[in-house]
Amino acid sequence: MSQELKRTRLYQWHVDHSGRMVPFAGWEMPVQYPTGPIEEHHATRRSAGLFDIDHMGQITVTGPDAEAYLNRLVTWDIGLMVENEAHYALMCYQNGGIIDDVFIYKLPGRWFVVVNADNLTKDFQWMQDHAAGYDVTVKDVSDETYMIALQGPKAIELLQNLVPVDLAGVSRFTAVETEVEGVAAIIGRTGYTGEDGVEIFFPADRALQIWERILSAGPEKGIEVQPIGLAARDSLRFEPAFPLYGHEIDADTTPLEANLGWACKFDSDFIGKEALLKQKETGLTKKLIGFELTDKGVPRQGYPVASPAGEEIGVVVTGLYAPTVEKYCGHAFVPPEYAKVGTNIRIVIRNKPKAAFIVKRPFYQPAYRK
């Protein structure tokens, strides 16, 4: 199996720096470095963390019908977006099930769509299958595009040393086309950790140069920065309640069930809209909730959720020890009657029901919303 896994251009760097490589979404990626996931999590919230996320896919959409075409495919109304804006959206099947969650950038002359590694093939196929009748060019540019993220309260200050533009002028959820160390790059003031920071896209053959330059620029300026693996990436995205495909969202889950109605614009005629409108009328049968354990134990994906009376009512989709909020907690799907904040439930850990209750999401308020 392992020879079938893809490797990013930083694979050898990760190995040389004792990154623990694991299979993830068809790639061999670092799950952690020697400092360990909890310290990596804290370092990102405290200062800055650098993430190799080149496994993620990028697709460009160009042509006269690009906006009309893309607007049909995603739940957000991209007609509302201004140039250089970035926005979160979902791609849905006709039945409302989620194909993927994506970040859309409206760049000068093109739309730039960032998708999950695991879903790239399926997303690209779906986009091509729905291009008939539109004058558009849809291109998978994942191979030639490198993607990294620099996240944390010191991320902007650090990166400012390497770019010619004033990053203070690049507000949250916007992007700028510029250079990093003389290399052409798209910098998005985006990210998936709940911290301020950026995601950077640049020609893939410059991966090592940019990666090492960011890591060396930190200490030069007295800014702590370190590489962050997938384990900390997961806890960092969980605390601010960002969904991860295969956990909070999948083909059997609709945006309404996953609390992502805010990412759907019902004035816009997107694929899946009718199913979602119908679901609004008939009501939900499951709803995504956050829970916290009062008994001790570590919840994990797939563990059953039970009512206090012992009836199985749902399933955990993300469960962990959350390092910043210092709680054993998670996300689960339960029937709406159990979804109210404060409701007592049980998480069944190795056949033992552990007391838990529904809490308000997110567990951690994103720094840029405070």
């Binding site: 996931p37 310290e39 001790k296």
Partner: protein, 128 residues
């Protein structure tokens, strides 16, 4: 590999040490390194009688849950309650403050069947 010269081992990565009439038990430095950050340890009830090789608890790291096995048969007399608030002691001091249980061995002769440090090291190396 860090080992405790006073301890004996078993290939499921627990160490055992004699303390008066009791046996103290935890997981090895190699085990904590493989598991990575420990976030919770589930203990047996004090007073429980468990046989050699029986599961006495579970150690939960960020990514996985792993069973813990009795190195010898015995009755649990104490569990390390400090780990409830500071499970990271298992990572920082696996042979010391990160100990897990103390028990009264019911068959002290089982001690002789445990692995020496050298034997354990060879077993780990054979695991690859």
């Amino acid at each position: 590999m860090n080992l405790d010269a006073n301890a004996k081992y078993q290939d499921s990565h627990e160490w055992a040490r004699q303390e008066g009439d009791l046996i103290v038990c935890g997981i090895t430095d190699h085990a904590q390194d493989s598991l990575s950050d420990v976030v919770y340890v589930e203990f047996p009830e004090v007073g429980a009688s468990l046989g050699k090789g029986e599961v006495f608890g579970v150690v939960e790291s960020v990514k996985a849950a792993s069973d813990l096995y009795m190195p010898m048969s015995g009755e649990i007399v104490e569990v390390n309650e400090a780990l409830e608030d500071e499970p990271e002691l298992v990572n920082s001091d696996p042979f010391g403050a990160g100990w897990m249980i103390k028990f009264t061995p019911s068959d002290p002769a089982q001690w002789d069947a445990l692995l020496s440090g050298d034997e354990y090291q060879k077993a780990v190396e054979a695991e690859g």
